[in-house]
Amino acid sequence: MSFITLDRVTKRYVKGDHELTPLKDVTVGIDEGAFFVLLGPSGSGKTTLLNLVAGIDRPDEGTVTVAGHDLGALSARALSSWRAEHVGYVFQQHHLVPVLTAYENVELPLHLFPLDRRERHERVALALDLVGLADRASHHPRELSGGQEQRVAIARAIVADPPILVADEPTGDLDHEAAAATLDLLARLNRERGKTICMVTHDRSAASVGTRVLELRKGALRETGDVEVSP
């Protein structure tokens, strides 16, 4: 069984007067340590699939199993705890809390764990160092560039050392240079730290960092032939 398994998953939601089905009978397995990239145009259901993997949404049909946990069987409270321990989420827009410094933003997930101040400090310092922003710890988001903000968001996603990173269009709002640095950082976390990464993007060039690339069209997944994946 794969580390992450979506088995015959269907997801519907209502938008206005219409019922949409972004995912229909989707089955996919993602191995531990993979850098899984999901391509697809806007509105194709990529984020919906990512939210199912991250346990912030539940399927209408089918099951989502991650690291042996059937997410549909967990209570809301248990799912929150599971998410804190297993998933780091990187958004397209960094969504840092503007009133907190970079350090405090990265520290946010650690408040959910029984760690003392020294342990939290060590972890935050390590995460900021990994993303190359140790010297920006006391800066507020408004004092950082877009690329730096996204790297702080990545530090926040990895600070609790979750096995899975989900990234929703992490380079969507960045210039070419910052986007390349962000993708390189995610690839390093995958290679050197063994993180299983699920990234969605509509940018085919960004998909080349993945070890496996699938495309989502009209609610169904299919392998892509035109993206060269990392070995």
Binding site: Y13, G40, S42, G43, S44, K46, T47, T48, N51, A54, I56, D57, A76, R77, S80, S81, R83, A84, E85, Y89, F91, Q92, H95, V97, P98, V99, L100, E104, L108, P109, H111, L112, R156, D168, E169, V200, H202
Partner: protein, 380 residues
């Protein structure tokens, strides 16, 4: 431990104008609430003062103001002979205003030795012998002296009456602390023409509080056909009658105060709701990180509490300063009711602020906890 204090504090500082304006709204309401309650406490203290239970007040029948009550001074000797009467104090009253007033001047003249023996007063400044010796000397109640800035040696003039302040006194009876006590004859001569030999009221102290009704009936029967028929009531009943308008005013003010608290709840709820609506994505991020709805409820509630308590602290502090420095008193028919504060009243105001904060936080906190994460971040 989730950062329930850090984040709310930062958010309140992020919008200083909104925070300050809301806190000032809370402060105004709490100031009003504490001020009204301080008058209520003053009234309560006035009604429960000293020897009210075993004191009768004899007035001329059908008087509508102390100024219109003229009783022959000699009545005092006849009343003193009634069985169960311990002492009788004939008192001449002269007021600046008979109606409710915030700054009434109330003179009471009485035979000095009986006055000092029967009134529970204690000299806190000045010279008692000088008061005994000089016919135009006065003892001034502490509350009145504070309000008018009087000290021993000063001369105080009101209308036709000018007195030398011989001393300042404190009293177990807060009503007395608003008075100027003078010699009876001095006030009889000063306050009107041809009023020598008359007093406004007789204060009858009983040996036993249980005799009140019997003695009151006996006094009124004794003078029923005399030149000045009397109306005798227990002092408590007299105070309640005199302050009835004040009590009515207080009831209205309390109702108004409750409405103000309700308005404040709506004001705070609106402010916090605006703040929560601005931060929808932030709450979504928290939920994505593994925070639960209960954590967000705690954060929003703490934010509301901080905002409300900051305002309440300002309101309570302002009320304490105003009440303790203004020495304000509301007087009606010569009965002076001072504004009074107690730790209990302050604690009650803070308690109401806490309840208001929790009530105001309810809707915004639930809104934050119910943030629809997947709708918020769905798009790609």
């Amino acid at each position: 431990m989730i950062p329930v204090l850090t984040l709310p504090l930062r958010h309140l500082r992020r919008r200083p104008a909104r925070t300050v304006l809301t806190a000032l709204g809370v402060a105004a309401a709490i100031f009003l609430f504490v001020s009204v309650e301080s008058l209520g406490l003053g009234l309560q203290r006035a009604l429960s003062s000293g020897d009210a239970a075993r004191t009768l007040v004899v007035y001329r029948e059908n008087r509508y103001c102390p100024q219109t009550s003229f009783l022959p001074e000699r009545y005092a000797g006849r009343v003193a002979e009634i069985d169960g009467v311990e002492s009788v104090l004939p008192v001449k009253v002269h007021l600046s205003d008979c109606r409710a007033s915030l700054d009434v001047v109330a003179f009471q003249g009485a035979p000095v030795d009986t006055l000092l023996r029967t009134r529970p007063i204690e000299l806190v400044a000045g010279d008692l012998d000088r008061f005994r010796r000089e016919p135009d000397a006065a003892l001034v109640g502490r509350a009145f002296a504070n309000r008018r800035g009087l000290a021993p040696g000063d001369r105080f003039r009101f209308g036709e009456i000018t007195v030398d302040v011989a001393g300042i006194f404190a009293s177990d009876d807060p009503v007395d602390e608003g008075l100027l006590l003078t010699h009876l004859e001095f006030l009889q001569r000063a306050a009107g023409v041809d009023r020598l030999g008359t007093v406004t009221q007789l204060e009858v102290k009983l040996a036993d509080a249980g005799d009140g009704r019997r003695v009151a009936e006996e006094i009124d029967r004794m003078f029923a056909t005399a030149e000045a028929p009397t109306s005798t009531r227990p002092r408590l009943e007299f105070l309640e009658g005199a302050t009835a308008e004040l009590a009515e005013l207080l009831r209205f003010a309390r109702a108004f105060g409750r409405i103000c608290v309700l308005v404040v709840v709506v004001l705070i709820a609106n402010t916090v709701l605006l703040s929560v609506q601005e931060r929808g994505r932030e709450f979504g991020v928290h939920l994505t990180l593994g925070y639960r709805g209960a954590h967000l409820v705690a954060m929003v509630t703490v934010e509301t509490l901080l905002l409300t308590l900051a305002g309440a602290a300002v309101g309570v502090a302002a009320a304490v300063v105003v009440v303790s420095t203004s020495h304000a008193a509301l007087a009606v028919e010569g009965v002076s009711v001072g504004f009074a504060l107690s730790a209990g009243e302050v604690a009650r105001a803070v308690g109401i602020a806490v309840v208001a904060a929790v009530a105001a936080a309810a809707v915004p906190a639930l809104r934050a906890a119910r943030t629809d994460v997947h709708r918020l971040f769905r798009g790609a």
